[in-house]
Symmetry: none
Subunit: 186 residues, 4 copies
DNA sequence: AATGAATGAGCTTTCATTCAT
DNA sequence: AATGAATGAAAGCTCATTCAT
């Protein structure tokens, strides 16, 4: 039981890491299996849909991981601006921790995947989950609902773009620069 | 002569289109060759480095294409804000024109590619080229140099992120919404 | 089980035969697979290193085959000279049996192979195995150790060279002529 | 004129070198052309039969080269034994000079080639040319004709075999050891 | 639930050669 | 005589998946 869980979990987290690092197509099933220490034939017991199913699960796992980061950043913050700043700093640290090639965990997982609507819809749902998480905190911290939703969307857009540029530059400074770009100064 | 140019050019533009639509790894050489009407063996004459070399050339071609869009948007504009707005509208149209799966032309080409420094550096150079193009117009339109560079960088970040979200939603509205998000609305 | 063995074994013996007949590079994987009745994808299960790994295994198999011939020739022989004579006659028969192009099984396998040290070292080891086998019999049949080793080495050299000339002439007589050339004819 | 000759010659010597080092199939035409500094389309003007014709020419060139070595070794020698010894020493030096992978120049060229009778017959002719060269010197130095031919053949066999073992060991000592193996000592 | 062998379509690339200029 | 582009067959290999145990 615990072993099963462990096998499935190892598969998901390993897949999430590798997909993020190299993209969906560039990551071979054999590589995931080897790194996770799972024998070849086992994958299809846990993920009957194979690679695609594993990718979807990995995306969900990553989404949960990111929501936790959002919560950790916003819960102790006295204002939306400070929460957002914490969030960007945390992402910069996360970026720095990971190895070289580094994409936004979600878009790497889902956009390089098969050209199926299932993948696109899943990506959309995950993005919305992140937006909703931020919007919730924004509202709690005093922003009116419409403004909260707009700010959360803007933040997601900015983070996605910054992650891309940070990757090209191999420099997390781009992520750290976001608050200055987004917050009205003075 | 013209035929030579034509063969190489057909290869580059076809590759640029397909890479943008499906990503580097998901696009087979056979597919590019077939669509371009170029026989299999000919590719390595024009691109001795094979797929990777073709991708780099396609990225350059796309960069030129985008710089032209930037120029078209900013040249007739009376202010940075209006230039930027034109630019986003043009990108939204471009997004709508392309078929289903749709990435920022540059990041699709370069981030899903081989995990090589050559690719990352190339992506960085292309991004910088786009930033410089926008910054030049910004300065010409009255922004001080530092501000112009900062705004150009912010715009690139925003466009990259918006493209990502637009793709997930299959909705170019995200690109059209950028000016409202970025411009201070007194 | 037996099937597994059978698949791998069929692969090895087929490869050994074809490599010997046409050389490493002139023998295509597709040809080996077709002749062995093994589907394309299966090879890399048994030989993760692909063609090179298969060639090394085929060399080992051939070495065992040759050692057996050496033993069969020397065991019943009353003297080194007669053992050697039997050995050359057996090789001549083997030569005659095989089809047209015909190399020393070992050198064909290993010298036309990749220019890697692994291959050269493997060839060296196989040659030494054959030399040792002959030297063992020589000593058993009364030759002092140093002399036994020298004779075994000379025999290997002679056999390799004779095989080459026999191939050019398409005539096993060269192999049969070896004893007369090597034995002191009072 | 001189340029043509030079082009053809460069092609032949380059091919001879590369074929000897890596074998017929492992040596690409592109590699030969590049190393010789000859443009792609030019080969078929000098060698209408392409790679095969070039290989045959390279074999002839090599044969002449070896005959010259034989003559240099035997002409000043007072006896067959000393001539042969000089010859082996010269070959050992030649072996040492060449780079790593190293086959008997003739067999490398012709046995790894296409499985055609033309190639086999050519190899046979070249071998005979070498045998005849040695036999001529042997007769001149006092051996009766039959004995001279037999000794020359034995020498060719021994040299071919020794070259093979020397290559596996990456050690020219095997070639230097030939006289002691072949000459009746005391 | 777990496994390692099997599978063949597909991959990128290299090959020797031919052709138009 | 000389050239660089064109050519497609074939190369070795990896892929995600299925199957028998």
């Amino acid at each position: 039981m615990q072993d099963d869980t462990s096998t499935r979990d190892r598969l998901v987290t390993t897949a999430a890491t590798l997909f993020r690092r190299k993209g969906y197509h560039a990551t071979g099933l054999a590589e995931i299996l080897a790194e996770a220490g799972v024998p070849k034939g086992s994958l299809y017991h846990h993920f009957p849909d194979g690679k695609a199913g594993l990718a979807l699960a990995a995306a969900d796992w990553t989404a949960g991981f990111l929501v936790r980061i959002i919560d950790d950043a916003f819960v102790p913050a006295p204002s939306y601006g400070e929460g957002m700043t914490h969030y960007c700093m945390k992402l910069a640290k996360l970026f720095q921790l990971s190895e070289a090639a580094n994409t936004c965990p979600i878009s790497a997982l889902l956009f390089d995947g098969p050209e199926s609507d299932a993948f696109r819809l899943h990506a959309n749902a995950v993005f919305q989950r992140l937006i909703d998480a931020v919007a919730g905190h924004a509202q709690r911290l005093g922003l009116p609902e419409a403004k909260a939703r707009a700010e959360a969307e803007t933040l997601l857009i900015a983070v996605e773009g910054a992650w891309t540029l940070a990757r090209a530059r191999r420099d997390p400074a781009v992520l750290r620069s976001l608050p200055a770009r987004l917050l009205p100064t003075g």
